[in-house]
Symmetry: C2
Subunit: 189 residues, 2 copies
């Protein structure tokens, strides 16, 4: 159990900032536990005891950075809200650092709790958007549907096929979900 305050909290904070600083300075792949420990002013054994290994520590830091810091902007209509959110999501997640954070969050994650947290963050944001739309009287799909039709394809491509991924693709996913005039998008896509 991690104690909420006092020295434990200071250690946790200084280790986390050490990770972020060093990741920016020497690159994420060059990080080592002793290096982080020295920057944070603690001994390596403290980190090993508390986090187990480097990957779990990185996973911890990654989840913190993947937490959205602000509610999604209100554009006055569901399509605009969802499109803007999807574009921003793609933009943040598909960057080199974003992908590294996602991978770290997935990686050092014995029980799957950290990855589930990431997914919960996205679901929360979408829920806010859908609730606003419902209050306006708009008809909306369920959160799970948006997760399946928008978030999943974005994340899949970010992880497995990072090439040729742009805002137009994100917009197309939202459009396909909200305006199903044609049955399927063109096969050429």
């Amino acid at each position: 159990m991690v104690r909420p305050g006092g020295r434990s909290a200071r250690v946790q904070a200084s280790v986390h900032t050490a990770v972020r600083e060093l990741a920016a300075e020497v690159g994420r792949d060059a990080l080592t536990v002793p290096m982080i420990a020295q920057r944070a002013g603690v001994t390596p054994s403290t980190i090993y005891r508390r986090w187990g290994d480097l990957q779990e520590l990185l996973s911890d830091v990654a989840v913190e950075r993947l937490r959205p810091d602000t509610a999604p902007r209100d554009h006055g209509a569901l399509p605009a809200d969802l499109t803007a959110w999807a574009e921003q999501f793609l933009d943040e997640m598909s960057s080199a650092s974003g992908r590294a954070y996602i991978r770290d969050a997935l990686l050092g994650d014995p029980d799957g709790g950290n990855a589930g947290q990431c997914s919960a963050y996205a679901a929360e944001q979408i829920d806010v958007i859908l609730n606003r739309a419902t209050e306006r009287g708009e008809e909306t799909p369920g959160v799970e549907t948006v997760m399946d039709r928008v978030v999943s394809p974005l994340m899949y491509r970010i992880l497995f096929r990072p090439d040729g991924l742009d805002a137009a693709y994100a917009r197309g996913l939202v459009t396909g979900l909200l305006d199903p005039t044609g049955r399927w998008p063109g096969k050429a896509a």
Copy 2:
């Protein structure tokens, strides 16, 4: 560059089998490079020089195991083909070992080549199914659409939300893609 034949090929093969054997014997998490080297009859430095680190080696082996060994079965109609394939895909990938392989493939993958290969395997299988359907005269979505609507949601949930994932969910994805009678599935889902 890896030489295609002779000693290099023998080393590669013996290292790969050593990884598989030892993973089965002592568990994937207990693997170490020196252990693998000894079993394979090579020196650790050989592995480090060729693969860089344990994760890249595991990623290599994982991709090999994720390659489908057989063409998808022909059930005579697109919905049955896709449903059966999706159920089998989910079954294989959501098992403990399947998830471990996916994570390994994603992890030790600096350039994204291994992950792209996994995605290509799925796309290949789907392409076979769609081509058969087209030859039968059935109307089919494009490969990319199936990837977005079926493969992506399955993989996203396997990675981020492994709970409450069953064959019914996989069937629902295929149904939603092929029979869009209702606009969206129920919000309760």
